[in-house]
């Protein structure tokens, strides 16, 4: 049994709203599996179903070999959870929160203190063990929650938007912990995010939009599907450069972008550039390479940007500025 999570045609509806629309996938033991999608795509709903907090409308799933509908208790024993919203008791100390968790997850008393020291060391919070949680910063709380999620040695750790609302530095810390965890404990990590750059840390990503999985692969493969890197060339004489380029690399297709005359897509751009500039007749001013990001993947798959707020505003402004030109 190499799959630790199997999901088959899972559906969840809230009234007329179909939050999760018949998704199926598998997560292998020991991998970091990411759910990527915009807010409201159904990520948290799926996690809540897998964690037995929500009853699926249809479909089945197993976690660690146990059915989420009929073997709830065993599923709950097998998982650790870090919710999107904080779920600590602020009035208690970090240690008291962890003891509470240890008792409800049946961590034997004999190993409890050692475990608490271990997980707190892992998230570098050992010196704050006896401070009340209300004195912690947002990042520290999140780290404490990750520590708590690991206290009972779960087989799968679910992280729902583990870095939301945190500054970039803390975000990096948390990713270091997650990667360290995967290396050391061989634990399976199932996380959701709407940050593209974070999804790159995953072994495999499921891209989810309006309740459906629209792509599932490694980040590299997903990006390859977009069609490789975009190379942007600027020269002193674009006319002759274009002729030279097409005669030397007849298979190249220039992009039809009016703002970028010498732009083209190629696989393995970093190997192509040395080939290109060696003995190039026209004087090159600059060469830039644009790696496809998961943003591009998402854009290509859904025809929209993943970030709703900021990006949309910018796009709206751009559209507005384009208007007189296109209307004419």
């Amino acid at each position: 049994m190499n799959e630790i999570v199997t999901v088959s045609k899972l559906v969840k509806t809230f009234g007329d709203l179909v939050a999760v629309d018949g998704i199926s996938f598998e997560v292998a033991r020991g991998e970091v599996f990411g759910f990527l999608g915009p807010n409201g795509a159904g990520k948290t709903t799926t996690i809540n179903m897998l964690c037995t907090l929500l009853k699926p409308t249809a479909g089945t799933a197993t976690v660690n070999g146990y059915d989420i509908g009929t073997r709830k208790n065993e599923v709950r024993e097998s998982i650790g959870l870090v919710f999107q919203d904080p779920s600590l008791d602020d009035r208690l100390t970090a240690r008291e929160n962890l003891i509470f968790h240890a008792v409800v997850y049946h961590v034997p008393r004999s190993v409890r203190d050692a475990r608490i020291d271990e997980v707190m060391g892992m998230v570098s919070l050992s010196d704050r063990l006896d401070d009340k949680v209300e004195t912690f910063s947002g990042g520290m709380k999140r780290r404490l929650e990750i520590a708590r999620g690991l206290l009972h040695y779960p087989k799968v750790l679910f992280l729902d938007e583990p870095t939301i609302g945190l500054d970039p530095q803390t975000r990096n810390y948390i990713w270091e912990y997650i990667e360290d965890l995967k290396r050391r404990e061989g634990i399976t990590i199932f996380l959701t995010t709407h940050y593209m750059e974070e999804a790159e840390h995953c072994d495999r990503i499921a891209i989810i939009d309006t309740g459906k999985i629209i792509a599932l692969d490694t980040p590299e493969a997903l990006k390859d599907n977009v069609g490789g890197d975009v190379i942007k060339l600027r020269t002193e004489d674009d006319e002759s450069a274009e002729a030279e380029l097409l005669s030397r690399f007849p298979e190249l297709e220039l992009l039809t972008d009016p703002e970028c005359r010498l732009c083209f897509k190629t696989r393995k751009g970093e190997e192509f550039i040395p080939d290109l500039i060696r003995d190039f007749g026209t004087k090159i001013v600059s060469v830039s390479i644009h790696r496809p990001t998961l943003d591009d993947v998402f854009l290509q798959l859904t025809g929209k940007e993943i970030r709703e707020e900021g990006a949309d505003d910018l796009a709206a402004v751009r559209r507005f500025m384009m208007m007189p030109r296109t209307r004419k």
Binding site: L53, E74, R76, F83, P86, V103, H106
Partner: protein, 329 residues
């Protein structure tokens, strides 16, 4: 599955040792029972810690019963002296009512902690854990009842003061008898709160619903005023109110052998039998009626009925609360 695997699957990380000669079934059952109790215990412990650390709440819990007893009790005692005549010791009559009231409000409102936990996310941590929901509900109910009993105990200590029941073996026996019965009442009341909180999503609605439910229960319980000479409809309502049996139970025990009625009623009761016998029959009957109807009633229902009703009420509410809490997602 062999034994080892079944034990692993059934007990997760816990590796408590199987006793010699114990079958796997017995071991798993024993483990589950122990876990249910430790789960309830840690939920209880957390609630008590939070209560104890919150200084205003702790001070309030100590002061509130004193305010009711001394300010309201003394005021009503004075009023009864003037209008009831003589030396009616109304504060003694009211004491069991204040005990009941304190337990009622503290117990029921303690369940608001469930809504706090929902609001601040901690409830999810509890609900997704492998602890049975029923032991979480049980821990919450015992936690609320404990807080109510802390307040109740302060009142029980006050019983020994000379202006109350006095320092005597009799008072001590009464206080001892009151402890388990008050606890029973507190459990039933906290269970009402838990059952309602389990069905509510918002913090704001809880006090509204509670007041809507609690105030009638409270006013119809006889805690503040005697349930005597009431209009028929109100009399029926008081008899349907389980809390009136609770207050009657506390009052019956507290006031056993204590004379609270003074004034004319007491005088009527003191007319010697010979003198009564010499009076015309109708005068005698009228005097006897007046005597008992003007006395404060200290035991409305038989005590055994009180205890039975309160026990059944606590048990039924406990079951309803656990059922309601377990069914939430």
């Amino acid at each position: 599955m062999d034994d080892r695997e079944r034990i692993d699957a059934g007990t997760g990380g816990d590796r408590a040792e199987k006793g010699p000669g114990e079958s796997t079934e017995e071991y798993l059952r024993r483990t589950n029972v122990r876990r249910a109790f430790t789960g309830a215990y840690i939920v209880w412990l957390r609630d008590i810690k939070r209560f104890w650390r919150d200084t205003p709440r702790r001070v309030g819990a100590f002061v509130q019963p004193l305010i009711y007893l001394f300010l309201l009790g003394t005021g009503l005692q004075a009023a009864f002296k003037v209008f009831g005549g003589g030396n009616t010791r109304y504060i003694l009559f009211m004491f069991p009512g204040i005990l009941g009231m304190t337990v009622l409000f503290t117990s029921v409102f303690s369940a608001i902690s469930i809504l706090w936990d929902r609001e601040f996310g901690f409830l999810k941590e509890v609900l997704v854990s492998p602890v049975p929901r029923s032991s979480v509900a049980f821990g919450k109910i015992i936690g609320g009842a404990t807080q109510a009993m802390i307040q109740g105990t302060i009142l029980l200590v006050l019983m020994f003061f000379p202006f109350m029941y006095g320092f005597s073996v009799e008072t001590a026996l009464k206080a001892l008898a009151l402890i388990p019965l008050t606890l029973l009442l507190a459990i039933g009341m906290t269970a009402i709160g838990v059952a309602i909180a389990a069905n509510m999503k918002s913090m704001e609605g809880f006090p509204m619903v509670m007041n809507f439910l609690l105030l009638p229960l409270f006013f119809l319980s006889g805690a503040m005023f005697p349930l005597q000479g009431l209009p028929g409809w109100m009399n029926v309502l008081t008899r349907l109110n389980p809390l009136s049996y609770g207050v009657d139970m506390l009052r019956g025990i507290s006031l056993r052998g204590v004379e609270v009625t003074g004034g004319p009623a007491a005088l009527l009761n003191k007319i010697p039998q010979q003198a009564l016998n010499r009076m015309p029959a109708e005068v005698k009957a009228a005097l006897t009626r007046a005597g008992s109807s003007m006395s404060l009633q200290t035991q409305r229902y038989p005590l055994w009925l009180d205890i039975t009703v309160v026990s059944c009420f606590a048990l039924v509410m406990l079951v309803i609360a656990i059922w309601q809490f377990s069914r939430q997602t």
